[in-house]
């Protein structure tokens, strides 16, 4: 359900940028979601369509890039992709790892005319 709130916050950013750039129409919105934030793209698309209805972004295509989870080991510096739920380093087995990718809720750009 957080998809609805995130769609609303995204819409507010789009509106402000479109107004500032004097766009009459937003044709595409490019965003990145990390896997950690557990957004369901289909639900997000639905929430987005409802949110932008009858606005400058009514017909905007939504390009959602999903970023996988990457961790970096604090102990040995190894940087790796997480494909399961084991947040330990694959090289030295340390659990002292930081998430360096996967938490994104990011708007990259909008396209319009």
């Amino acid at each position: 359900m957080h998809e609805i709130r995130i769609a609303k916050d995204l819409f507010n950013i789009i509106l402000a940028v479109a107004e500032n750039a004097k766009l009459s129409k937003v044709t595409k919105v490019n965003i990145t979601f990390g896997k950690m934030v557990q957004i369901v793209p289909e639900i997000f698309e639905f929430a987005f369509r409802e949110t932008v209805r009858d606005s400058v972004a009514n017909d905007a295509a939504l390009d959602i890039e999903i970023a996988g989870i990457r961790l970096k080991c604090r102990n040995c510096g190894h940087d790796f992709q997480l494909d399961d739920n084991l947040f330990a380093c694959r090289i030295c087995n340390s659990y002292e790892t930081d998430i360096i990718q996967g938490n994104e809720l990011f708007i990259k750009s909008i396209e319009g005319e």
Binding site: Y95, I99, N103, F106, K108, E113
Partner: protein, 215 residues
């Protein structure tokens, strides 16, 4: 024409959370964001925790509920300031609603502020409220697989409470599986295995909370 933006969609929430954090720091108030599924035992934990600490320190509570003030009613007996935020269907609290709720507290007379978030394991973990830290709570009837299924919360939290341990004999909950699952997601996190109803394990939780308050 393409316009580069490159920003976090929840920046507005983050900015307000920063303001809340600065305000609480200036007033020396510790804010704890308590997150669990509905029915895991957040309010019972707060009843126990208020009962333990309300003579020693000034506690305040923000109750996030989709509707009703039932949780707040249960805490009234401790004679502490409580503000209810009804989200009217919203599945989480955000920093703006917390900021507004803080206006109703006399923050010079609060040492610890507990926020009981809306019952949900995914959405509340995305929204920084300006808290000092999050505490994740799960209960044994929910199953032993929650850390792996909701890794963001268990990575973000500073402590985990496993409630209703007294019910383990009546469920298929495997304590070793739960501990291992949590270790895989966040090996550093303190785990308190408790029963809010029976009182088991609560003294360790109180000691830990006492340390956080003193820090």
């Amino acid at each position: 024409m393409e316009i580069k933006i490159m920003k976090n969609i929840l920046d507005r929430n983050q900015d307000k959370a920063r303001e809340v954090r600065e305000l609480l720091l200036s007033k020396k108030v510790l804010m704890v964001n308590l997150i669990s599924s509905p029915g895991a035992g957040k309010t019972t934990l707060l009843e126990r925790t208020c009962s333990r600490f309300c003579d020693e320190m000034k506690i305040g509570v923000i109750e996030g509920d989709i509707t009703t003030d039932r949780d707040a009613q249960r805490l009234k007996k401790y004679n502490i300031p409580i503000v209810v935020i009804n989200t009217e269907g919203g599945c989480h609290l955000d920093s703006h609603s917390i900021s507004k709720a803080l206006d109703s507290f006399d923050l010079d007379n609060v040492n610890v502020l507990f926020v009981e978030n809306v019952g949900n394991l995914i959405c509340p973990s995305q929204f920084d409220l300006g808290e000092n830290f999050k505490v994740a709570m799960v209960s044994t009837p929910e199953g032993d697989d929650k850390p792996g299924k909701y890794p963001m919360l268990f990575r973000e939290a500073r402590a985990v409470l496993l409630n209703k341990t007294d019910l383990i004999p009546y469920t298929n909950f495997d304590l070793d599986c739960f501990r291992l699952d949590l270790q895989h997601v966040n090996a550093r996190i303190p785990l308190f295995e408790i029963s809010c109803i029976k009182g088991d394990g609560l003294s360790e939780w109180y000691n830990w909370m006492g340390e956080q308050i003193r820090i």
